[in-house]
Amino acid sequence: MSMVAERIAAPIRVRARNVHLSADTLRSIVGVAALVLIWELGSHSQQWFGFRTPWIGGLPPPEAVAITWAHLVFKASYWTDLWLSFLRVVSGFAVALLIGVPFGLVLALNRTAHGVLFPSFEVIRPIPPIAWVPASILFWPTKDLSIGFVIFLGAFFTIVLNVLGGTKAIDPRYLEAARSMGASRANIFRRIIIPGVLPSILVGSVVGMGISWEVVIAGELISGGGTAAGGTGGGIGFFIWNSYVTAGESAESQIIVGMFSIGIMGYGSSEIIRWVGRLATPWLKLR
């Protein structure tokens, strides 16, 4: 929230807070508007000024994107695509959470399991999840399962690592205190380890959710790009890919609409997890 210069200035100059806020809102509007203006001028430069702006010259202008979006909102297929991608993300992510959290806890609490499994885990982890897409398509019978598996991989590694880090960050004095007061292992697990790990699980989930959205788009792009244009499964990645394959300005605007839609969906899913996290860890608010 606060910034260095502001922190320096705070004790010296006291300003009215609401004045600050409105100035910042104004600036944010100016910043975004400047961006849209550059985009507008850049995409029209060919017809308005007679030269092609590098890079952004090939983009559809913002108003075309807005109009395309306004049309798409009333199309059922747009919502189906979003829904299909969302379902894939949620299912892959849920499996990653269901397997990743217990796996991480076992690795963290059992020295032997850690010794046996963690090195293999670390050897497989650097392979980017996307690199698994072709192998996954080969292995799983349906496209949905193969994309779901890659989403699972992407979220799984992040969640496990965060669970491990979370248990390591638990203050050992808590464990010693509980043990010296005669707490059972089950009690320590339930009262100390679970609440201690919960914040890390949530951090891992937010990051993992971000990765899941990256992976679902990649999976849909690659598997959709592999087959003939038209795609089979649906999903917002397929939507983008089909728009890309179909040339023309309205198709190009559809690509941008698709991008922003994914951005909104991804942001929304992360916000949901943060909200659930705030409900699950009410004690963190007290700090």
Partner: protein, 291 residues
């Protein structure tokens, strides 16, 4: 002395580790049970791979490349599908991928750190730029692929653009967090001692943000390889990601596995390099400030 401890920095002993202590640790490592447990783990994973594909021939595993097949292809001087340790193509793919990541990482580091520092340091700059920044951040880099191909001509630039975008956001955001994490008493102390803003920027803000910057660079390196694979699969020519997809579509499944393992290996080396550079640089910082 108080300044020498950079806030938020974890104590990393590895920078101070001398050769003898490293050798000692290696000896201890082999004395302990860890190395044997690790071997058991590798054995389990590889054994499962081999058994499920070649021995038991489980339903879905049967079509996958087996362990023996992959190793034989990889170490064959005359590979069946054209890619092995002895072919020039293998090293060209590696080199092309590394070059793309290298170029993109240089660009994103230089832009990302400077924008991140500005975002953390100047309230005005942040007010103008950060909302627009946040508007683009939730969009997965992967979703930029078709747009990048439209915006940039050629096959090389779209891939580099994607990788740059991916690591830029991680670097810039972490640098910003790093500047914001600096204990304000450091800045007050420097102000009391008569430092001007420029001195504070160079001697407090930059060293203070460095641990976060390197966290950002590590994440950035990870996502760089991640998005490189997508970029190469969709639009690239040569490179490890391209090789995986090409091997898939030409039914050269052992090559696919070889490229995947190589990708993990090269990606790991790159992340380790960033970590080492970070340790060296921050040790130097700590020593300089302690003098």
């Amino acid at each position: 002395m108080g300044l020498s401890r950079v806030p938020g920095k974890e104590e990393e002993p590895s920078g101070n580790r001398t050769f003898s202590s490293a050798a000692f640790q290696i000896v201890e490592f082999f004395k302990g049970s860890r190395v044997y447990l690790m071997l058991i783990g590798f054995g389990l994973v590889l054994g499962f791979w081999h058994m499920s594909v070649d021995i038991w021939r489980l339903p879905r595993f049967r079509e996958m490349p087996g362990l023996v097949e992959v190793v034989r292809e990889w170490t064959n001087s005359n590979p069946a599908f054209g890619i092995s340790l002895f072919t020039a193509d293998y090293y060209r793919d590696m080199w092309v991928s590394c070059r793309r990541v290298g170029i993109a990482f240089l660009i994103s580091t230089s832009i990302g750190i400077s924008i991140g520092l500005l975002l953390g340091w100047s309230r005005r700059f942040r007010a103008y730029v950060f909302p627009a920044f946040e508007l683009f951040r939730p969009i997965p880099v992967i979703a930029w692929v078709p747009l990048a191909i439209l915006m940039f001509s050629g096959r090389e630039t779209p891939v580099i653009f994607l990788v740059t975008m991916a690591s830029f956001f991680a670097t810039a955001l972490n640098t910003k967090l790093g500047v914001e994490s600096i204990d304000q008493s450091f800045i007050r102390a420097a102000l009391c001692l008569g430092a001007n803003p420029r001195q504070i920027f160079w001697h407090v803000v930059i060293p203070g943000a460095l641990p976060y910057v390197f966290t950002g660079l590590q994440i950035g390196m990870g996502v760089a390889w991640f998005s490189l694979v997508v970029g190469e699969m969709v639009s690239g020519q040569y490179g490890l990601g391209y090789r995986i997809n090409a091997a898939y579509s030409t039914v050269a499944y052992p090559t696919m596995a070889v490229a995947m393992i190589t990708l993990g290996f090269v990606g790991y080396i790159c992340s380790a390099l960033v970590r080492i550079v970070g340790n060296v640089l921050m040790q130097w910082r700590v020593r300089q400030l302690a003098q």
